[in-house]
Amino acid sequence: MARRWAWRGGGGGFLAPPWGKRAAGNNPPPGRPGGNRRAPPPPWPAAITPSLPSSPPPRPGAFLVPPRPPPPVAPAAATTEPAVAAAAVQRFTLDNGLTVIVKPDRRAPTAVHMLWLRVGAMDEVDGTSGVAHVLEHMLFKGTERLAPGEFSRRVAALGGRENAFTSLDYTGYYQQVPADKLADVMALEADRFAHNRYSDEEFAKELEVVKEERRLRTEDNPRALLFEQQRAATFVASPYRRPVVGWMGDLQAMTADDARAFYRRWYVPGNAAVVVVGDVEPQAVLALARRHYGGIAARPLPERKPRPEPAQPGLRRIEVKAPAEQAYVALAFRAPRLASVDAASDEDRDALALVVLSAVLSGYDGARLERALTQGPQRVADSADSSASVMGRGPGQFLLTAVPAQGKTPRQVEDALRAELARIAREGVNSAELERVKTQWIAAKVYERDSLFRQAMLLAQHWVQGWPLDAEERLLAQLRAVTPQQVQAVAQRWFGDDQLTVATLLPQPLPPGAQRPAAAQGAAPHRH
């Protein structure tokens, strides 16, 4: 329903007003822009239902909830759950090392089947950036038994929907199908997991598609360009410095053998998990998984170098020039990574407190950033936002973003953003704010049970982190235990100059020859 016109290209830009949190003028900080095999869905209001887009881009960096309308929850007293509560999740490990995770949800006769690899752009090396994502595209291009495109034709014939995605941390493939077609898609997925094959010609064509994807997502998108540059400036040794989609120069130089080598190296059973959520029996799924995936030979996992990020010796500042009307400011602070859901270390506890801090800053309409920056006669910004990306295999990051209001400078906005951090460091947060964001999270946990896809994504993301099956419950419990003092303490600890990379978008006029749309609107073509 809400999607109607908000499709491709301009995003919500031209028809949707920049209201509230959901459509805020900010681009969502693309913490870890995932590449998708498929383009964003067209605006077709599906025959009988304009249902959710089939592939919400993964938000690995954003903690367990979408950063934006920070999902929510109910007061402690509200958590009584009826007897029909979701059945327990089960996990198995096949002899070859492959993990199988199953969560029954019998509301409808459908299921989602995902295959996840614990490999993403962060596992690439210099010169072949983007290869994890290109390989993801190539998985649709054939096997020893299937011709290019045949995989998709077969899934479609089963009544299925499918896609795939790549992030810094992982690669995922999925099909949504009637539950009685689970065995069929498992057979197809296992086949390409073990026997992906394609010609150099097919590779060359698909590489052009990926370049178009990069042009669409990044090159014609000034804020995406800014985040790409900021990431490259923030990290020096960590592979998080490279864009998921890859540098254009690396794409130009990529060969089919680069993708094949990456596939042989990383697509091994011990580095993969099958996640199934839906109208299924765990034991039956296990039997299917054994039949289809069990025969794939175990192979050793490649060594992963830690590539730790060296200390930052001082504030970094970059500028990005691009055709735009509005400036844009993004403050990226290095942040701790959440390693354990049981908050085993000081860093874990700080990471959790930073998640709470971000929710207090921007987690609901009228939260601190909105009040301080975007309201009143002296407002400095048209929009302002924050996100705590602490859940990932690489280093964490705390991001503050804002669009300067007309007549205000990026520097004024930067100062205003940092002033809000300083205020919390000085005065702390109040318990009502804390209760509010915790309430939102508890409710969100109930709401997310409405989506099989979302449930599967969470289980898989937790597997990527090496977390237990009940990671979500544990995280929630840890978040609920965060105190105002902890939030104040992380505000004091993690936002110094030596943590910070400031990126500023300097709007440039459109180049000569690029007509302004006002002129372009001119005469409508012939009618009548």
């Binding site: 290209g9 014939a157 178009e212």
Partner: protein
């Protein structure tokens, strides 16, 4: 499709008596429908598995009702609805921040939006009575007693205008605007919000729009969630309780239909960008068109079915010309735009355009093959359950049925009706709706 039958009620059946299991009247999607004394229409689907409820209240107050000189008015009303409510009957007034906090404190999600055909209030809440009761009352106040503070409207207008100017720097937006203007002409579906149209909107206009279109008697209330009919009735009564007496307005005026294009037209707009954006199309058809299903299937094969469509095969798979290529009809109360869209390197624009046109012309002339029709039916019929497997999707279906006046049992024979379509019917329907020789082509940013 027996297996799909009780989707929305399966959990209920577990505790229901065997009597119901024998009842052939169980519909695929059992929608209860009634009219309130106020005149409001209600559609209810009970979905008891999760202790939550989704409510969407729609009004015939989408942007098609915008005066052309004030394009953006419906969206302005929607955006301003959450910027403050008046005091009354024991409740203190709340400003925008008070409202934001109140929703968050309830763990509820609340949104107001305006599309082409409707202005919608959407509430998602837990069913815990203490929370749900408050959420419903808060929603009732937002719907009935917005304050529309002038200073906030000034600010929102400034933000919105700035965002519109920013959007105009993007090739996709430039293309979409030129396309909409060309396809819809002066029809409200083609009206474009600009800083100029926003400048003509004053707070009094928001109030007038509210009074004219957002009366309880015109509300369409859709509910999907855990709860009995009696509870739903209480919920609806509470939701609409703050509305004043209905205005004497009577039926709303009809909105004219979209006029067909009379001749082909091409707009080549210079733009310096990494990609050229190509759009080809014409007015399509309204949702009530009896050919809807045949056109759904036809478009699925042409460019709506993802990887297995003809456009994707020819433009992307065979030639690597575009990441995204699609066709779509977007029917509403009036004809939506039939659109073929793609983006490609500027020097490939002419080639990609030619390929897309050839695919279109051939498809309209010859129709699909038997194999393509079979494949489309397999996907649509086989995947039917995926369209109704969550509360969110059930709600979208109910809204669709209510908005376009479809029968309550619309979904019951859906798969059979798709299955029954013939090659000739699909070809004829597409040929009736599409005139490749009279389409608008917009190309932004091409280079020779």
């Amino acid at each position: 499709m027996i297996a799909v039958k009780n989707i929305a009620v399966r959990a209920l059946l577990v505790s229901a008596t065997a009597l119901f299991l024998q009842n052939p009247a169980w519909a695929l999607l059992p929608i209860q429908h009634w009219q309130e004394p106020s005149g409001a229409q209600v559609w209810l689907v009970q979905s008891p598995a999760i202790p939550m409820v989704d409510v969407q209240i729609d009004f015939d107050a989408g942007s098609r009702r915008d005066p052309s000189e004030q394009a953006g008015l419906a969206q302005a009303v929607a955006g301003m609805a959450t910027k403050g409510v008046r005091a009354g009957r024991g409740f203190a007034a709340l400003d925008e921040n008070g409202l934001g906090e109140a929703w968050a404190d309830l763990g509820a999600q609340f949104d107001v939006s305006a599309g082409r055909d409707a202005l919608s209030y959407s509430l998602r809440s837990l069913t815990e009575p203490r929370l749900l009761d408050q959420a419903v009352y808060l929603a009732a106040r937002v719907m009935a007693e917005p304050t529309f503070p002038p200073a906030v409207w000034e600010r929102e207008r400034a933000r919105w205008s700035a965002a519109l100017k920013e959007a105009d720097t993007r090739p996709g937006v430039v293309a979409a605007k030129a396309f909409a203007a060309g396809v819809f002409g002066s029809h409200p579906y083609g009206q474009q919000t600009t800083p100029e149209t926003l400048a003509r909107i004053q707070v009094q206009d928001l109030q007038r729009f509210q009074a004219r279109y957002l009366d309880a008697c015109r509300a369409r209330v859709h509910i999907v969630g855990a709860g009995e009919r009696a509870q739903a009735r209480l919920l609806v009564a509470a939701l609409l309780s703050r509305r004043r007496a209905p205005s004497p307005g009577g039926a709303l005026p009809a909105v004219p239909e979209v006029a067909p294009l009379q001749a082909a037209a091409e707009r080549a707009i210079p733009f310096a960008s990494a990609q050229a954006h190509v759009l080809i199309g014409q007015p399509g058809f309204a949702r009530k068109d009896p050919d809807f299903l045949a056109l759904l299937v036809g478009n699925h094969i042409l460019g709506g079915g993802g990887f297995v469509s003809r456009l994707t095969e020819e433009v992307r798979e065979k030639r690597g010309l575009s990441y995204s290529v699609y066709s779509a009809f977007a029917p509403g109360l009036h004809a939506g735009a039939f659109t073929i869209g793609l983006q490609t390197r500027p020097d490939q624009a002419a080639q990609a355009l030619q390929v897309a046109r050839e695919v279109l012309e051939r498809f309209v002339a010859e129709g699909p093959t038997e194999e393509e029709l079979r494949a489309a039916k397999d996907n649509l019929v086989g995947g039917f359950a995926l369209r109704i497997d969550s509360n969110r999707k059930l709600l979208a279906n109910v809204v669709n049925i209510a908005t376009y006046g479809l029968p309550l049992d619309y979904l019951d024979g859906w798969t059979q009706r798709v299955e029954a379509l013939t090659l000739a019917e699909v070809r004829a329907a597409m040929a009736r709706k599409l005139q490749p020789a009279r389409m608008l082509t917009v190309v932004v940013g091409a280079q020779p």
